[in-house]
């Protein structure tokens, strides 16, 4: 069987400028011409479907997932058969030549593809990906580590590569959100997944159909203060970015039966009610398997992963595995997987 690959590849790049009084550092990457962004997205093979900015950052919904641009940080996440790693070279080039910003750290993460054989180079294997990044990055990002974090199931592993020029964590910059949570869900509840299909000939734009899905599914209740930029694809599928000050969240849904997938990601700190957020996410999708990867900035000792268990287990899910790893100056990653305690009996054949 083949189908759309829901699992995203995710790249986070941090830049710095030598002259902090330079206006470029204040606005930084947000000053990049749209041509530069478009050129980068062409290399990855996706396009912008909607976008919005506030005083902290710009958020783009892409034909395949999302892009976030902060003054010195870019997060780009793409699904399907996109070639995400091909964005590294153009981004480094544009940041350097247009803004005089240089790359200081890089983090690449992904789950396990449902259809690994459909992936083009360099995403053909984690080994190929790591080789590609290693040769693409400037040599001064010399503290590097690649790791495959396991779960009990060989079909769910977490792949992490980090590289940085710093020997220790640099907390001088705004670690306003010391942790990032990346959630991957497969085998979604069929009825709930069905809400991410459009009615044929609804006459709506992808934006207004997306807005309707945000309301009907409860996604809007994850953070009621957030401005949501959403989009519904034809005939099915959904993407959203949420923005609340400098906080972002993002959801992507591939609802087709047989390879249904949804992801949720957000940053967090003590002010973010991560328990509420996680419970809402579980309620919206009721997945057969959920993995939660929590990346925590090096300087903070975190027990976010304990909160994750406390949030998710009362929802009828059980923690089946928990792996932890440390990355040079980039902090720690905890990878947890959960499945339902009791899987609902198949109700096929019943009226």
């Amino acid at each position: 069987m083949s189908g759309f690959e829901g699992f995203e590849k995710r790249l986070e790049l941090h830049f710095f400028g030598d002259d902090p009084s330079n206006n470029m550092v204040k606005l930084g990457l947000r000053k990049l011409d749209f041509d530069c962004i478009q050129h980068t997205l062409e290399a990855v093979q996706c396009t912008v479907v909607s976008a919005v900015g506030n005083s902290y950052f710009d958020a783009y919904v892409l034909s395949e997932s999302s892009l976030f641009v902060y003054p010195t940080k870019i997060i780009i996440k793409t699904c399907g058969t996109t070639q995400l790693l091909k964005s590294i070279t153009p981004l480094i080039f544009f940041a350097q030549t247009h803004l005089n910003l240089t790359l200081s750290s890089c983090r690449y993460t992904r789950g396990s593809f449902i259809f690994p054989k459909a992936q083009p180079f360099p995403h053909t294997s984690f080994k190929d990906e790591v080789n590609y990044i290693e040769t693409t990055l400037p040599s001064n990002l010399c503290f590097r580590k690649a790791s495959i974090m396991p779960s009990k199931s060989s079909s769910h592993s977490w792949h992490v590569f980090t590289a940085t020029k710093f020997t220790a964590a640099t907390t001088t910059t705004t670690h306003n959100h010391p942790f990032t949570v990346e959630i991957c869900m497969t085998d979604l509840d069929r009825v709930l997944a069905g809400k991410f299909f459009r009615r044929p000939g609804d006459g709506k734009s992808g934006h207004s159909a997306g807005k309707e899905m945000t309301e009907l599914t409860g996604i809007g209740e994850i953070n009621e203060n957030a401005l949501v930029c959403d989009f519904a694809f034809d005939p099915c599928g959904y993407s959203m970015n949420g923005m609340d000050g400098d906080w972002y969240s993002t959801i992507h849904v591939t609802p087709e039966d047989g390879y249904s997938y949804a992801s949720f990601e957000c940053v967090g700190n003590d002010d973010v009610d991560i328990v509420h957020v996680l419970r809402k996410v579980v309620q919206i999708f009721r997945p057969g398997t959920i993995s939660v990867s929590t990346t925590t900035a090096a300087a903070t000792t975190s027990s976010v992963w304990r909160k994750v268990v406390g949030a998710v287990e009362p929802m009828g899910l059980k923690c089946r595995s928990c792996a932890m790893d440390q990355f040079p100056a980039e902090g720690s990653v905890v990878f947890q997987t959960f499945t339902p305690i009791r899987r609902k009996k198949c109700t096929l054949g019943r009226n």
């Binding site: 606005l27 947000r30 990049l32 909607s50 976008a51 919005v52 900015g53 734009s205 934006h207």
Partner: protein, 120 residues
């Protein structure tokens, strides 16, 4: 009606006076006004700008106004603009619609809806 030089263009308002003038002119002519609240530092605003210029050509009977939220801070505050770009649709002095974000399809559909309502 003779076409003015501003017809088919996105008109930048850099002062409060220019802004008030344009609003008044649009309201007096009973035209639909589309206000684009934009910022120089906002990437999505640069993404949508060429499309807005196309729409201005396509809908010569609609007035397109561009306001930089840093230049006309008080206007942006009065209109409660928090995210960029924000498009406000004004008819007879009233806000009749709003699109937050660079959403090409939504923007065009909203203009078409209000233009149709005006000619109905």
């Amino acid at each position: 009606m003779a076409g003015s030089s501003e017809e088919g263009q996105v008109i930048g308002c850099h002062t409060i006076e220019a802004w008030n003038d344009q609003l008044k002119k649009g309201n007096d002519n009973n035209k639909l006004i589309v206000v684009d609240f934009t910022a120089s530092w906002c990437g999505p605003c640069r993404f949508i700008a060429p499309f807005l210029a196309e729409l201005a050509k396509k809908f010569p009977n609609v007035t397109f106004i561009k306001v930089d939220v840093d230049e006309l801070k008080t206007v942006a505050q009065d209109w409660a603009v928090e995210a960029m770009p924000t498009f406000m649709f004004v008819k007879e002095g009233k806000i009749v619609g709003k699109v937050v974000g660079a959403k090409k399809e939504e923007l065009q559909q909203t203009i078409e809806k209000h233009v149709a309502a005006a000619s109905a």
